[in-house]
């Protein structure tokens, strides 16, 4: 409970910063911070495996991908970015606040009466579940990733040298 109380405001602040900041690099790093704090939250809630995987995949691969693409394509600087923003917040709030209300309602309807202690699945069980009960999902993701890899290899291939 303490971990949740400490981590949640930090996550919210980091996420707000990631969305709000004008400099892309700062925003990307704050996104990485948000994701790693989310991983810490999973660990605190008892899902150690998921938390560490979150760290490894999201922070170690996705965030690195984002910052790498930032390195290669130098994006617009701060002043231009701020100038491109809309002048008032009202349209954005009109779109997002209803969504927030719906989410809160949905979560609030499903809060259980008693809180149970988190039971961590042993890793063997997670592996068994992944490859038996949820095997179609894993297969679909595998096919998708293979297609992505092949596509990337195709794009990055050197043009064939025909004399």
């Amino acid at each position: 409970m303490i971990a949740l109380l400490i981590l949640s405001p930090l996550i919210l602040l980091a996420a707000l910063g990631a969305v709000w900041k004008a400099r892309p690099v700062h925003a990307a790093l704050l996104l990485a911070l948000t994701l790693s704090l989310g991983g810490a939250l999973y660990i605190a809630l008892g899902a150690g495996f998921l938390g560490l995987v979150q760290f490894m995949v999201y922070v170690g691969a996705v965030a690195v991908l984002i910052v790498f693409s930032l390195l290669i394509t130098r994006p617009r600087d701060e002043v231009e970015e701020i100038a491109r923003r809309p002048k008032s917040l009202l349209p954005g709030l009109l779109c997002t606040l209803p969504l927030l209300a719906v989410l809160l309602y949905a979560v609030g309807r499903n809060v259980p009466e008693t809180t149970t202690e988190a039971v961590e699945l042993p890793i063997k069980r997670i592996g068994e579940l992944l490859f038996t009960t949820h095997a179609p999902a894993v297969l679909a993701i595998a096919i998708l990733l293979t297609a992505v890899l092949l596509g990337a290899a195709l794009f990055a291939r050197e043009p064939s040298k025909k004399p």
Partner: protein
């Protein structure tokens, strides 16, 4: 923490096996004597254990920086540093004092916060990773059930820190160096993790102490049951060690930080203590990843021959670590640097297929071994690994045997 393993029984205080745990147990006994609450005892004990590991590896880092210079010098037919104390043993002290007293220059165009954070973020994962390795039968600073996953998770933090170092410096060389360093580290993380997956599959657990204890025992009475002495383990181990050289940005993969290439890559704009932190992070990372390689493939703290059990297990671990690091030094002194495209090609087209092959090979091996078909296991896995390797070398030779180089733009 719910995912910590329960501790084993603790015999006498002064046996050599328990020697490295002495500070931790002394602190715990002292706090218990004063009737401290439970959390304080465990906190104090863990702190003392962490301090022990840090002390050992900081000394090791200092010694390694000297031994590296002297070994490289001997290979190059000269004497290394021998002025600062008897045989140069105080050279790391002199280096430390120099780094501490240097002016800390931050470029004007640099982003100060990120510039400051980057070296810290490089050292912290290395130290964290050192905490989960089993150094001896009883000496594990933080025994975690998910130790291996934790290791890789904090290892991936290093890439982000390299990016921060490169971007925050605000000048060309660091950004170029950071780009190269990140692409290299990401590319070589794949073979690293894939070869570790083969080990995980065979051992059935992510906890490093269990992986080491499963490599106990001896085949035929004298051959140790280490993972590197199996077909898939040989390939996997070699791939792992090559990938760990690349992860640690060492020769022959040190293009991101080679002095004649790009000044110091992402570390260019750092001076004084921050540079010392980068240096330390690199070496501690080297220790950590070589330690992981020793744990996964070389049997960790297991003795190599049946009769040598009387030697404390942590001596075996550090001995194997020393041998691996000596090989890394030897390689550094010998081989030239790989160019960026050669590096990438080697990683993606050479190491990843091989490491992918070790996974089915390991699976077939362990299935056949468990059903007592030892010979069949050898007969199936060796061709499974060898034939694609030979095909790859044929393709490689074909590539080498191309005709004379044609210039795309310079022909007229």
């Amino acid at each position: 923490m719910t995912f910590l393993i329960a501790q084993t029984e603790e015999p006498s205080l002064w046996s050599p096996e328990w020697l490295p745990l002495l500070p931790k147990r002394l602190v715990e006994n002292l706090l218990e004597h004063f009737n401290a609450p439970e959390w304080l005892i465990s906190l104090g004990g863990t702190g003392a254990g962490a301090a022990t590991v840090l002390a050992v590896f900081m000394t090791g880092f200092a010694l390694l920086s000297l031994i590296e210079r002297k070994t490289l010098a001997r290979v190059q037919n000269r004497i290394g540093p021998n002025r600062a104390g008897w045989f140069g043993i105080l050279q790391p002290v002199a280096d430390g004092i120099k780094m501490l007293t240097k002016e800390d220059i931050v470029p004007a165009k640099a982003e100060k916060l990120l510039h400051l954070l980057a070296p810290i973020l490089i050292v912290v994962p290395a130290i964290l990773a050192l905490g989960v390795l089993p150094y001896g039968k009883e000496w594990i600073p933080v025994p975690m059930e998910l130790g291996l996953l934790f290791f890789f998770a904090v290892g991936s933090l290093t890439e982000l820190a390299v990016f921060m170092a490169g971007w925050a410096s605000g000048s060309k060389f660091p950004m170029l160096g950071a780009m190269r360093a990140i692409s290299q580290m990401v590319s070589y993380e794949l073979p690293l993790v894939l070869s570790a997956i083969a080990v995980i599959m065979v051992s059935g657990t992510l906890s490093l102490p269990d992986i080491v204890s499963q490599q106990g025992g001896f085949h035929l009475g004298f051959l140790p049951a280490w993972n590197i002495l199996t077909p898939w383990g040989l390939v996997g181990g070699l791939v792992f060690f090559i990938a760990s050289i690349a992860e640690a940005n060492r020769c022959p993969f040190d293009l991101p930080e080679g002095e004649s290439e790009i000044v110091a890559g992402h570390m260019t704009e750092y001076s004084g203590f921050k540079y010392a932190l980068f240096f330390m992070g690199e070496y501690l990372g080297l220790f950590a990843i070589s330690g992981l390689g020793v744990t996964l493939f070389l049997g960790g703290w297991q003795a190599p021959l049946p009769g040598l059990d009387f030697v404390p297990s942590w001596i075996w671990f550090f001995g194997k670590l020393a041998v691996i690091i000596f090989f890394f030094l030897w390689i550094r002194a010998t081989w030239p640097r790989l160019r960026m495209d050669q590096l990438m090609r080697f990683g993606w087209l050479g190491l990843i297929p091989l490491s992918l092959l070790t996974i089915p090979a390991a699976g077939i091996w362990s299935l056949l071994q468990r059903s007592q078909h030892g010979l069949l296991a050898w007969l199936v896995t060796v061709p499974l690994l060898l034939v694609p390797f030979v095909i790859m070398t044929v393709l490689f030779n074909k590539r080498l045997a191309r005709s004379n180089r044609t210039y795309r733009f310079a022909e007229s």
